[in-house]
């Protein structure tokens, strides 16, 4: 599931055509949603242990992880249930704890086009934690029964008031994660355009 810049370049430079819009969306989705360096997780570990493997919380110590475990919201979703929907505002970050979720985008005729699959301990909707309530770019739905952890923007704001050092560690990690994703995305966009230009050249 890991998608590095070099891996992305390989995909983009492969003989397969990338002119299809859904393919480009898939690349964007992978760059946006996939948690880099995410380790596989055992489903039955404690919540704090699980959170230690989420890339956003890698810098947190045991005490902070235990504190975070008392804040996050555990949610269970049934197969096919939407976790978040494209065009709707987001106020929470989600982390996949058990099961698989599918990132989809709405194509013409209200048809869902699958873009990526996310497994534990991948996180999605990080932008909901920092920005104003911006409409979501993609929808995410459960593929089979899924357990997720939700962390609200208000939860992080409360953390930054009560435990600023801990919140700073999360925010710095979040900034780094988003910067890496932006770089990957820009790279993908640039290479995608180059690919299209090459194919269109006489």
């Amino acid at each position: 599931m890991n998608l590095t810049v070099s891996g992305l370049k390989k995909i983009l430079l492969s003989p397969r055509s990338h002119t299809d819009a859904a393919d480009l969306d898939a690349i964007r989705a992978r760059a946006l949603f996939e948690a880099p360096d995410s380790a596989g997780t055992k489903p039955d570990r404690s919540l704090a242990d699980f959170l230690a493997h989420v890339s956003l919380f890698e810098d947190l110590g045991r005490r902070d992880l235990a504190r975070l475990a008392r804040i996050v919201h555990e949610r269970d979703y049934a197969d096919g249930e939407y976790i978040c929907e494209e065009g709707r505002p987001g106020v929470a970050l989600f982390i996949v704890r058990r099961g698989v979720v599918e990132v989809v985008t709405r194509a013409a005729g209200d048809r869902d086009v699958p873009l990526a699959l996310l497994e534990p301990p991948a996180s999605f909707e990080e932008t909901a934690l920092i920005g104003p309530e911006m409409p979501r770019w993609f929808s995410v739905r459960a593929r089979g029964p899924v357990s997720l952890l939700g962390l609200g923007k208000s939860d992080l704001e409360a953390l930054s008031v009560d435990f600023p050092v801990m919140a700073n560690k999360v925010l710095i990690r979040l900034a780094a994660l988003m910067a890496a994703r932006l770089r990957t995305l820009l790279d993908a966009e640039f290479l995608g355009e180059s690919d299209q230009r090459t194919e269109g050249a006489p």
Partner: protein
């Protein structure tokens, strides 16, 4: 589908009725619970700060509870020490009645028969006289009390002879004034208050003790709420959100955040405003000549009353004027104040404190936390008082604030998520 919707509406209506019944049934616990919650809300950053210094949360909460316990104990002891003894209370009533009559007579230009006065008297006596009569009736000594008060002083058993002589003189003047007022009113005899002793007084004392017991048992909930809310690290919110269906999770999270923000702004704002107003009243009344001890008492009373809109001003005015009425010697820190103009200066001090609150403190510390129309505020306070008594007055504004945010935020977020 239609039946499900109808059932949902019926369930919602039943829940509202049940909630209203519970609020009504538990109304005596509302104020203690609110005070416990308020203190917990204010203390949360303190607990977090202690936790940051590696003090376990339980220990931090225990420490805070200990501090509050000590403060409450010291406060209760101070109040108990300030409560006058039976003799001191009689002295206080004699002095208050003397001061009231003396100042009223001077202001209205009344002669010794209390029947002819100046233009102000002629203009206002129909309205003011009944009021003065009622206060006089409340302060005047009964026949037994008079004997109890005068006898030891005239026998010279009292140690401070000069002061005793003055008080006896006050009581004689009071008796004369009562006689004059009775004659003017056409009663012939001065109204003698019935004795407070006997079965009625005993029943009153027993009733008072029972009432105190009830109040104390209601207030036992305050430290429990305080402990529970401070010890909670998020399970309350998680529990609440766990009951919400998945599609409502994010809107509920957003609404809760909005309510929490509004409540936090209100609690912090009103707490700071009450503190600022209390300190201002202490400073201003001290400047005009109220002794610091009494100025602090008036300031605390004013600050606490300010939680109820417009009540802080009334409390400060009442406290200040009560002191001005009883004060015999005035030692102001500003030279303009004299014994004659003391009451006016107390009013000026209170009005200035209220102005400062409205112009400076309210916009600065409360900001937009309570953007309510004055009519809504007055209606809320009056309605709250009519339904729940003092608790209703106390909780009217935070309740209106929460309900308003709950409605506007729910509507906004449900619409944004396409749920309505």
């Amino acid at each position: 589908m239609r039946a499900v919707v109808v059932m949902a509406y019926v369930a919602a209506a039943a829940a509202v009725v049940l909630a209203a019944y519970l609020v009504w049934a538990l109304r005596s616990f509302i104020v203690p619970a609110f005070v416990g919650g308020l203190l917990a809300y204010i203390c949360r950053p303190l607990v977090a700060r202690l936790e940051r210094h590696r003090i376990p949360r339980g220990v931090a909460v225990g420490l805070l509870l200990l501090v509050f316990g000590v403060v409450a104990l010291v406060g209760l002891n101070s109040v108990r020490a300030a409560i006058p003894s039976e003799t001191a209370l009689l002295e206080l009533r004699v002095r208050a009645l003397y001061a009231l009559h003396h100042r009223y007579q001077a202001l209205m230009g009344l002669d010794s028969s209390w029947s002819h006065g100046n233009g102000l008297y002629r203009l206002t006596h129909r309205d003011l006289d009944p009021l003065i009569d009622r206060v006089t009736d409340a302060l005047a000594l009964t026949a037994e009390e008079r004997v109890q008060f005068v006898a030891p002083r005239e026998a010279g058993t009292d140690t401070t002879a000069a002061a005793s002589g003055r008080l006896v003189e006050y009581e004689r003047t009071n008796a004369h004034a009562l006689e004059m007022r009775a004659r003017r009113a056409g009663r012939g005899e001065p109204a003698i208050k019935p004795s407070a002793a006997g079965p009625a007084a005993t029943a009153m004392a027993e009733g008072g003790a029972a009432g105190l017991g009830e109040v104390l048992s209601s207030w036992a909930i305050a430290p429990l709420i305080f402990l529970f809310l401070l010890a909670d690290t998020g399970s309350l919110k998680r529990g609440l959100l766990a009951a919400v269906p998945n599609r409502l999770f994010e809107p509920a999270l957003a609404v809760l955040a909005d309510v929490d923000e509004a409540l936090g702004n209100y609690v912090r704002g009103i707490f700071l405003e009450c503190c600022a107003l209390g300190v201002t009243v202490i400073v201003f009344t001290t400047l005009v000549g109220v002794p610091l001890r009494w100025a602090i008492a008036i300031g605390i009373f004013t600050g606490a009353s300010n939680v109820i809109p417009y009540m802080g001003f009334a409390a400060a005015l009442l406290g200040g004027l009560a002191y001005a009425l009883l004060a015999e010697d005035v030692h102001p820190l500003i030279p303009l104040v004299t014994a004659e103009s003391f009451a006016i200066w107390v009013v000026v001090a209170v009005v200035l404190a209220e102005l400062l609150k409205n112009v400076l403190y309210e916009p600065l510390v409360l900001g937009g936390a309570v953007k309510l129309h004055p009519l809504v505020i007055v209606s809320g306070v009056v309605g709250g008082a009519a339904l729940f008594g003092p608790a209703g007055m106390f909780l009217a504004i935070p309740t209106i604030t929460i309900v308003r945010v709950l409605i506007t935020s729910s509507a906004r977020h449900l619409k944004a998520y396409g749920l309505v």
